[in-house]
């Protein structure tokens, strides 16, 4: 191996192991910030030693042992540690925990790390950055590029998040009992936010943004493996698998958005759809599971005409009862218009207009325009498309809406 390829190998090993190392070391030093520094030290040691001495037989174990030893040394150096403790304001057990022998213990460590990084005491952006950094193994630079922000901003978020955890004295544990559901919801939300950031990225020049979808999927898959008994974790995983299966067809050759009805379904990724269906079997009846079931109806329809709109409308009905929102209601109206016809859906959309909650949401006039066009009311439909065009911030969508409006111009007397 050349030095360069050894360095690459070291970094690959580190990426694979870093979350577990940080998780195990945090158990010893009780602070994710210090644990991350120690993990980085172990990486530096490997980069220095392996090119000379060769890559060890069990490189992951080498890194883990090196990091653990450093952590134990740190704890033993009372003086230094007392100072560190003063910084983090925490008391410590006398002896470091034993090396986990059982893989389940390692899983448990990793879960603690995930629950800690996604702790509700943190601001949302702090949770996202910390999770991607500690669990996803992304560099600060990668996170900054993916979120279209500067590296110092992300670094600052991570520092603040680590401080907030230390200050709040968040215990390093997997929550059980009453607050587990809320804590798990916080983890699921972080993964969902990461996915959406990548999914809605229309600035497609930078592949790091769409790559966030993959990072989120990996986190979701990891989570379902760690908490197999949590239906909503499977629901989120299924939702993301289905969404990701359509990535290749969501935009046309010039980056313009392609509507679901017009997407080339033969190019949807069958493997991801199959994984989505499998995850859906283990999902439940929570909001992510319901959204996954809806996405599954679309993903498993071979042709657009085969879509089971009645099932989708019913699922949106359940979702509206569980987590009511104007956007869910709008989607329910669309599904009803497809299942029963535009006249059944128009009153629902008109009620939303009267409510005023989606006043600046371009999809509301866009959907209303579509219903009016199908009901043979082109003058009103055209006005709605033009209103929608004035509301959207996406140039491609604006073109699409203005094209639809212009097409109706010929039909107006």
């Amino acid at each position: 191996m050349t030095a360069a390829s050894t360095a690459q190998a070291v970094e690959a090993v580190f990426r694979i192991e870093s979350a577990r190392i940080i998780a195990a070391v945090t158990r010893i030093v009780r602070d994710v910030g210090i644990a991350e520094e120690i993990a980085q030290d172990a990486l530096v040691a490997a980069l220095e030693q392996w090119p000379e001495a060769g890559v060890p037989d069990r490189p992951g174990a080498w890194l883990m042992t090196t990091a653990r030893n450093r952590a134990v040394d740190l704890v033993r150096r009372e003086e230094t540690y007392a100072r560190k403790l003063a910084e983090v304001g925490r008391a410590l057990e006398d002896a470091p925990p034993p090396e986990p022998a059982d893989p389940d213990d390692i899983d448990d460590d990793l879960l603690r790390l995930i629950f800690t990084a996604c702790h509700p005491v943190l601001a949302t952006e702090g949770r996202v950055a910390l999770t991607l950094r500690l669990v996803g193994g992304l560099t600060t630079q990668e996170i900054a590029r993916a979120f279209l922000t500067s590296e110092p901003t992300v670094a600052q978020r991570i520092v603040r998040a680590k401080r907030a955890l230390a200050k709040a004295g968040v215990p390093y544990e997997v929550p059980y009992g009453a607050d587990r559901e809320a804590r798990l919801a916080s983890v699921l939300e972080v993964i969902y936010l990461v996915f959406n950031e990548g999914y809605s990225a229309t600035a497609g020049d930078d592949l790091l943004r769409p790559a966030l979808c993959e990072d989120a999927l990996r986190l979701a898959r990891l989570l379902t493996a760690l908490v197999p008994g949590e239906p909503e974790a499977h629901g989120l995983c299924a939702l993301l698998e289905f969404q990701a299966s359509r990535t290749a067809t969501r935009t046309g050759p010039d980056g313009e958005p392609v509507l679901l009805a017009d997407q080339n379904r033969t190019r949807w990724n069958r493997m991801l759809i199959r994984r989505g269906v499998e995850a859906l079997r283990r999902a439940g009846t929570g909001p992510y599971s319901l959204q996954a079931a809806i996405a599954g109806c679309h993903a498993t329809a071979v042709r657009y005409e085969d879509t089971d709109w009645a099932a989708i409308a019913a699922l949106y009905g359940s979702l509206a009862r569980l987590a009511p929102s104007p956007v869910v209601e709008l989607n329910r109206a669309v599904a009803i218009s497809m299942a029963e016809g535009p006249e059944a859906a128009l009153p629902l959309v008109d009620a939303l207009v009267a409510e005023g909650a989606l006043r600046s949401y371009h999809l509301l006039p866009s959907v209303r325009g579509d219903l009016l066009e199908r009901l043979g009311r082109p003058v009103e439909a055209r006005a709605e498309f033009e209103r929608a065009a004035s509301l959207t911030r996406n140039a491609r969508e604006r073109d699409l809406l203005l094209t639809r409006a212009a097409a109706l111009a010929g039909l107006t007397p």
Binding site: I16, P103, G137, R218, A248, M271
Partner: protein, 118 residues
């Protein structure tokens, strides 16, 4: 995060004994579980011997069929794993770990190839 197809290559004329060492299955099982838990393993399977396979060739406007075994080929694909990794170095590292679960006396190869557009 690209996908990689790892093709496991074996020499069918030189197969290891039918009986696996007692801890082999357990070692492979533990690694596959670890890869699944890391969110890396998308799909993996071993393939039936080439004796049960058929090769189909489209050439000169005609299809021709050859039933296995394919004894003229030194190494044939004996299994595959579809991995989702950050880069090729990570895929290579996981593949190395997979090969190293096998007994020292065995000869097993693997070819790591990135999935195009995936």
């Amino acid at each position: 995060m690209p996908r990689f197809m790892t093709l496991i290559r074996i020499d069918e004329r030189n197969l290891p004994p039918e009986t696996f060492p007692p801890d082999f299955e357990q070692r492979v099982g533990a690694l596959l579980e670890e890869m699944t838990k890391a969110g890396v393993m998308l799909d993996t399977a071993g393939l039936r011997p080439t004796a049960e396979g058929t090769r189909i060739t489209w050439s000169g406007g005609r299809s021709s069929f050859t039933d296995g075994p394919f004894t003229e080929t030194k190494e044939v694909v004996g299994g595959y794993a579809l991995l989702q990794c950050k880069d090729k170095a990570e895929a290579v590292e996981w593949t190395r770990r997979f090969l190293e679960t096998h007994p020292e006396s065995w000869h097993v190869g693997a070819e790591v190839r990135q999935v195009d557009g995936g």
